[in-house]
Each structure stands twice: as structure tokens, then as C-alpha cells.
Amino acid sequence: QDTGQVRIEDPSQLTPLEFEIREITVTGLVTARESFVISSSGLRVGERITIPGEEIANAIRQLYRSGIFSDVEIAYERVTGGVNIDIRVEEEPRLQRYEITGVKRSQRRELREQLNLLTGFAVTRAVRSQALNTINRYYREKGYWGTEVEINEEITDEERNRMTLTFRIDPGERIKVREINFEGNEEFSDRRLRKEFSTIKQDRWYRIFKRHVFTRDDYEEGINNVLQYYRDRGYRDVRAVDDSVYVDNWRRSKDGVFFDIEIEEGPQYFIRDIEWEGNTVYTDEQLTLAFGFQPGDVFNESKFSENLEYKQDETDITSLYNNVGYLFFQVFDDVRVVAEDSVDLYFEIVEDEIATIREVSFSGNTKTHDDVVRRTLRTVPGQTYSRSAIIRTIRELGQLGYFSPEGIQPELVPDQQERTVDISYSLDETAGSDNFEFSGGFGGRQIGVILAARVNFNNFSIQRVFEPGGWNPIPSGDGQRLSLGVQVTGRGYQSYNFSFTEPWLRGRPTSFGVSLSYDYLNFSRSSFGFGGGFDTGQDRRNELFSASVSLGKRLNWPDDFFSQQTVLTFNRFNVLGFSGIFEDGKADLLTVRHVIERNSTDNPISPRQGSKFNISGEVALPVPGFNQFYKLKSQYLHHHTITGKLVISAGAEYGYMGYFTDVNRSNFQRFFLGGTAIQQRQNFLNDNIDMRGFPGGFNGVISPVDENQNLVGGRVYSKYSFELRYPAVSNEQIQLIPYGFIDAGNTFSDLNRFDPFNVKRAAGFGARIFLPILGLVDLSYGYRLDGTPGSNEGPGLAPGEWEFLFNIGAPF
């Protein structure tokens, strides 16, 4: 039978010819069916194929892919009118299951993830040795050098030729890095270089949390770090001439890993001259200034490439060009050694022409509608290309909260001929932008235990409410915010609120908001045992119904960080038992407030830089039967990064409340300082200003006191704050930002008594914690430096005490 059969050995030697397949046979089968082999090979009797050619190669590939053969060979025999094909397969036992013994459960689990052994696939020699390599590599990474693995094979299903593998693992002794030695280093000490070799540390008893096991990658990275350290100090020629890693006896017969690294430092280079060529947009002086080096400076390699290519604050040479449209800009550098220790720098610049943005697209918005994304993009078709616009876009897309900030990737497709560029952003929708808050806690003495629930839908869509399939599970995608909240206690406090915001009304950059709220507080003053019987036993009741409509707009002038907002609010108060402050009964306010704001902060939770300024005017219209006042407020808060992640924030704010006439003056909405939103909820008749260190509530606020010992609230206030903040943890699951603060502020009964430096102070520390499902939680612990006088409400606050405050929501 063998006669006339040709093995396909070197297809390139043969002339491809077409044959018809007359017959297909399969040899070497154990459990697989012939029909399966033939059908997966893709070869068919009667078909015409080329030999040598695609079809045979494909057939072999397909059969291997089925994962059940360890060897596949296809032979053919010429017969009259075509060929007979013989498929020879070698079938290996297939994997039924596998086990790992001798090691901890956690390691077994990790190994299973890495091993990638699939049930039903053939256990070939390659599979076995790959598994061995994986196990050895896994333990090597953990610092075990002498791992022994024994593979036990057992056929556990004769009929189907199935095998069970058992890996018996003995990881052996863990060997730590004991010594890192340098030779040839003259300029810097061993100690200094070890510090730079930051990936692996020598094991010492006081290094509890550091890695001191050896891995190849860490070791190489460490050497590179050391060399980079030299290069950044002008040693351009530095080399690691020799390095060795070995295991040796260390102390008390313990083994340890030793590193010996020999370094040749070479000379330290200084810059002698800097020359630019080909630049027409910027002058030599401008470029040298941006480049940041002067003749005589040490040649710092990292600074060199950073200032040329990319620097965080975009002051590098490439940004200089890229930000004004020169996308095709290129710079070629030539560093010439001109003396023992000097270099001349030549730069050849190819400016090319300005590129215009053509198509701007994005993908990955599986929940959020196009318009919501598109309105956030700062790169607009037809505009000049700008790298900083792309960076700003990425930042602002991240701030939406709908996409994971790390997952935003821009892709540029330039067309050099047309001088255009297409930009596409790939987005990654986060699991949920909605959150649900449920909290219980102590809400102050007048309230007692409080239960609060709130749902925020941050990517709501009204339109989807009425569309089929829109409730999946919540109508979403239009970037509208819908919030519903309830707070109740057993002691007569209730609060309900609803708000809806559409940031882009009818597709235009005008925001529209509606909110409704109802607050009710009912308590008896006698239960506090204070007040000298002035009105003991008298019940107090506060009620407020409030409805408002707002319209806002982002402005493009003076710059595009400006926005304005107009709010129309109707308040109906109903009070009882505040003799001396408010008259019993109902009172109405109809106010119009206008705010102009400039906000350039880069992050709503923990800004690194930028500032926020706003000024607002509010008028309670003197409608007959309504109360009247007017109010002016302004606020400024500035953030500045000092070093690394450490940020300093400083701010000041002032407010003034005046009246048009002597009649119907409103005593509602006067200024009270202290606490945060949670502590202030019982004081809903007032205009509450947040302040740490002072607890808020009826007895914990800063307010002028009238001759009858009533807390009447200020008509003027000032507040200053100062915060030092360090975002210690910031990832998608949690952000943790500890801070220290000093707050100072005061309220005054009218303008004549106003003294901007007569303030009550508190200092302390705290932390903000952001969890996507909970929102932002702010905890602060403040030490009061000044106290408040006593009043009908209580004895006032004593100075020199600590005050813990808890809040939900961002202060910026």
C-alpha cells in the first residue's frame, strides 16, 4: 500500500496541482469518530483541492484546534482521477479533571486561574511542560527557588480514555534578598543607590511591608532605576558593567539572595550650547525658555525628554506646538559631545502645517445617549487640533460619573494629505451612576433618632419613561438628575423633597431644574429643661413648603468657566411658639435669586487646582401680603497643589441681608453659622452656612442674640476656611481623602457691627470618603477655639472642646 504514496515534506519543492478527492480515510482513532475528523477537517469527497495548498494546511489547523489530538498528519496517494487522502491522528488521553496538592488553598486557587487546563482537551507533552513552567514561574515570583513538582497521571475513565492529573507541589524554602552590593560607584553611596533600586529591598527586621523576594523583572527594573538616577544627574555614559545574582549562605546558616552590581559612572555632562532650527512659530528664546535648560546646566535625561515631549502641565515643546494645531510637528534632537564633560544640543524642528479636526466620534456608550457625550467634547469638527482640548475632554468626560475615568482613551487618525485628523474616544460605562442612601442616626437633640432614605438617579431620562423598553430597570441615558428623599423621626420631624434637573433643556446648553420640598418640625421646649420658664411647656411648630424653578446657562464670556443661574422660589412658612422672633401663623416669601459663578476646579470631590468664585443677589419681592428682603452673597475658594498630591485650599465668603422698607421685614432666611447639612435640617427656617467645629442645631449655631435672649440670626456674616488635603486613596471603588482644617466665621446683627476679623475659630482634622453607592461622606473632628453666648435655646458652646461632625455631600 505504501508504494506511490508521497509524504508532504517540503511543499515549496512541489508544483501545486489540482486533484479531486476520491476517498478519505482516518487512522489512529481511539474514541473520536471518523465522521467527526472528516467533517472538522473541512475536506470532502468529490471536492477539488490543490496540493500542496491552503486546504490541507487548513485541515491540519482545524483538527489541532479541536484540542483532542496530539499529532495530526495528512498523507495523500495519487490514484486515477484524483487522490486518496489519509488523515492520521494520534489521540492522547483527554483531561477529566486535575488536582493540586501540597500547597495552601489560596495558592491552589491562584494556580488554577493561571494553569488554563481545559477539561476534554488532550493531555499532550506540551500541555504538561507548560503546566510545569507555570507552576515554577508562580513560585519563583513568590521567592521560592527550589520548587519541586511531581505530576501523577491516572486513567480514570477507561471507556472514554479520560485522565486525571495530580500535581504534587513542594514549594521548598523561601529565599529572601539579603544583600545588594554596588561596586564602582564613587559619586553616590551604596545606601543612596539602594534607595533608588526601589523595586526590591534588602531584608531587614524593620522592613515589614516591603518586598524582598527576587524576581527577574523587579531586578531589571531596579538596575534601570539606578542607571536612570545617574543619567538624571548628567552621567550620560553610565553602565552596569557586570551584575550577578546568587544564592549563598547569609547568617546563621540561612540562605539568602545576593546582588552584586558593578557600575561604571563615566563623566558628568553639562550643557554648553542649545540651538534650534526650522522654527517659525516660536522664537529660539521662547523655545529655550520652555525647554527649561540653560547653558551650564547639568544634562538631566528625564527632564530633557519630558520638556521635549510631554509634561503634565503642558509647558513642554511638543505641547507648545500641539496645542495650537501643529499635529504633524516633529522635533529631532542631536546631542553632541564636544568636550570631556560638555554637550551641545541641536534641535531640528519640522513644524508642518496646522491640522483641522474632522470627525469626532466615540464608542462604548451603551447606556448614555450620544448628545450627553457629545456636549461634553471640547474637540469640535472644523476647529484647529489641540492636545490640551483632548486632555480637557477626557477630564470632563471622567467627571460626568457615567464612564470610568481610567477607561477613557482617545484615538487619533491623522490624514497628512488633507491636513485633517479624526478623533475618537473609547469609553467604558461604569456599573452604576445611581445611588441609594439609607441612613439612621442621631439628628440633634430636638429631633432624636432619625431615619433617612434618598435615591439619586444621576443619568435619568424623562423621555425613556414613555418609550417601550425604557424601564430597564430605570429610564436612563439623558444625563438628567432625579432625586427623591425622605427623612422622618418619631419625634415630630419630617422632611420630603423631590428635585429634577435637566442640564441641557431641549438639547441646548440651558439647565432647567424643579424642586419641591416640605419640612415639618414639632417639639415641646419644656423637655430640655432650659429657658428659665420663659415659655416652658409651650409647643413649637415649624413648617415650610418650598417650590422652586431654576434656569441656568454656561457662558462663553469672559471665559468658558463662567455660568449663571436664576432661581424663582416660593416659600410658605407656618410657625408657632417663636414669640420675639417670628409671629405665629403663616408667612410667604417669593424670591428671585441670580448667581454668577466661575468654576475652574478640576474635580468635584478633591480638586487639585482651580478656583470657584460666585456672587449672588436675591430679592424677596415686596408683593402685598408677602415678606420682603434682599441679599447679597459672594464666595471664593482656591485650590493649589503644593507638592505631589498635597493640596491647599483657602476660601472666604461674605453675605449681607437688607430690607426695602420697614414693613413686612422677613426674619426668615437670616444667617446662622455652624454644622453641615445633616445638623442644619431642623433649622430650615434659616439660611444656614456650613462650618466645622460648631455643631449646628438650635443650641450649636453662631448667631447674634437679642435683648430677650433669642437667637435671631445675622444680617451679615463672614467666613474663612483653610484646608490641607491629601487624597490618599483614589480608585474606582473608593476615594479616601484625609485633611486638616481651620475654619473661622461670625454673624452680626447689622452692618455697623460687622467686623471681618472678629471671628469664632475652630481647627481640626477629618476625612472625606467617597463610595460610588453611598456618595460622599465627610467626617470632621474640630477643636473649638471660641465659644458662643447662652440664649433661650441653651447655655451656648464652651470653647476648648472637640466636636465631631458627619456630613453627606461635597463642600466644593
Binding site: 467527526f36 467533517s39 483532542i68 470627525e359 456608550n365 450620544d370 469638527p381
Partner: protein
């Protein structure tokens, strides 16, 4: 009793397949899919394994889990490229992506994937009974993609970025000329240019009115009996008035020199 329908360790592959088929016939697709999954894994290399692979995909398809269905159909096509089921498998795989394609306001990756697969299907099986349906799907999906771009253009127009709008209307006209959105785009583009001109400094107005007239001419050539013809005529008059206005402003100064 239902427990008899479930595959148990001792079952032969034939029995297991029959049990899975029973669940499939009863319309219990999630259970069926799980059962076929088992049959596929133990039946690798058998004819039954091949059948099970097909019905696994079918179970997911009928259960409307189109992403899973598409990947199982794909696996079938990969393992059994010459099966008689190849035609239906290829079509259904493409159809899965058609079903996955979301409304135009969201990411259209699946839409593009569907079009790609449908086109591949039509070129591989031009005489298929599904060919017409497939072509119909392609038209429908391309309409969706065209609309997406058209709405992006409208967004730019609405927010007064007329140049960006004009570029995007151009993209619709170039990329989707056969759709109804191309015709609309020309009309909207003409208006965008007019608004652009009207909101420009006097020196730039003329060239922008001329661009508007270019859109008009293109429209008249492509859609001489178009739906928006009367609107185009109105816009034409508006652009012409604009141009006359500029000429009128310039004329007094030229006549004074004479």
C-alpha cells in the same frame, strides 16, 4: 417528574442529548442551553457533539441571549465549516448582531458588526432564501448609522457651531448617500451655511453664502424631485438676499470712486 429530564453522570451521550432535546422542544431554553453545554463538552469529536453545538446556539437564540448565541454559532461555523447547516448558522449569527444593535443614540458597535456579517453572508450565499431579508437588514441598519451622524450634525447646528454641523452633514452625504438622511442633510447643511454666514464678520460672509449655494446645487442635481425642494428654494432666496446685501454694501463705495 422533572428530575428525570436532567442529565446525570451515568447517562450515555445519546441519552444526554435526547434529554436536552426534550427540554428544547418544551421551550425551556435556559435549561436546554445548560444541557447542550454538557453534551458538547462530553461529546467533542462525535456527530452528536456537532448537533448539540447547533442546538446550544439555537437555545440561546430562542432565549434572546444573542451575544452568547452569536458566539456559539460562530464556534459551529469554525468547527464544521462544510456542514449543511452553515448557511442558516451564518445568517442567524449575523441576525444576532442585528438584534443586539441598540437605538441610534447609543454605541453602534453591534450595528457595524451586524452589517459586516450580513454582507459576508450575502456574498457567500447570494442565492440563499435569507438573502433578501439580509439585504433588508443592511438597509435598515445603515439608516440607523446615517441617522446617528445626522443627529450629531443637528446637535452642532443647534449649539451654533455651524462649521462643525456642515462637516457632519457632509459625512452623512458621503457615507450614506442612499439613505433618506442624505437628502435631509443637504437641506440642513444649506441652512447651516446660511446661519454661519449671517453670524460671521462681513469679510467672511460671501464665501459662506457661496457654500450654501453649493449645497443648493448639489441638492438640485441629486434630488431634482426631492421632498425638500420648496424649502431649498426658500433658502436659496435667503442666501441670494444675503449676497445681494453684501454687494449692496460694497457698491456705494465703488460708485463713489468712479
Amino acid at each position: 417528574c422533572r428530575s428525570n429530564d436532567l442529565i446525570r453522570p451515568g447517562d450515555t451521550i445519546e441519552v444526554a442529548f435526547e434529554k436536552a432535546m426534550n427540554q428544547y422542544r418544551e421551550g425551556d431554553y435556559p435549561e436546554a442551553a445548560q444541557a447542550f453545554e454538557t453534551v458538547v463538552s462530553i461529546g467533542r469529536g462525535t456527530d452528536i457533539g456537532q448537533e448539540a453545538q447547533y442546538y446550544l446556539a439555537e437555545s440561546y437564540y430562542n432565549d434572546r441571549r444573542y451575544l452568547l448565541a452569536a458566539s456559539e454559532y460562530e464556534r459551529y461555523a469554525q468547527f464544521y465549516p462544510n456542514s449543511f447547516r452553515r448557511e442558516v448558522v451564518d445568517f442567524k449569527r449575523a441576525e444576532c448582531y442585528y438584534f443586539l444593535s441598540p437605538r441610534y443614540r447609543l454605541d453602534q458597535s453591534y450595528t457595524r458588526r451586524a452589517i459586516e456579517n450580513l454582507r459576508l453572508f450575502n456574498s457567500r450565499f447570494p442565492d440563499s432564501e435569507y438573502a433578501e431579508k439580509s439585504a433588508q437588514y443592511i438597509i435598515e441598519l445603515r439608516e440607523k448609522l446615517a441617522r446617528k451622524k445626522y443627529e450629531a450634525a443637528n446637535f452642532y447646528k443647534r449649539t451654533s457651531r455651524y462649521e462643525a454641523a456642515a462637516i457632519y452633514y457632509d459625512l452623512v452625504i458621503d457615507d450614506y448617500p442612499e439613505t433618506e438622511w442624505a437628502e435631509r442633510s443637504l437641506a440642513e447643511q444649506m441652512e447651516a451655511y446660511i446661519l454661519y454666514a449671517e453670524n460671521s464678520v462681513p469679510e467672511r460672509q460671501e464665501e459662506r453664502f457661496r457654500l450654501a449655494l453649493e449645497s443648493y446645487n448639489t441638492y438640485m442635481q441629486l434630488f431634482p424631485r426631492g421632498e425638500y425642494r420648496s424649502r431649498m428654494e426658500e433658502l436659496f432666496d435667503r442666501a441670494q438676499d444675503g449676497l445681494d446685501g453684501i454687494a449692496g454694501n460694497i457698491r456705494p463705495s465703488t460708485s463713489s470712486t468712479q
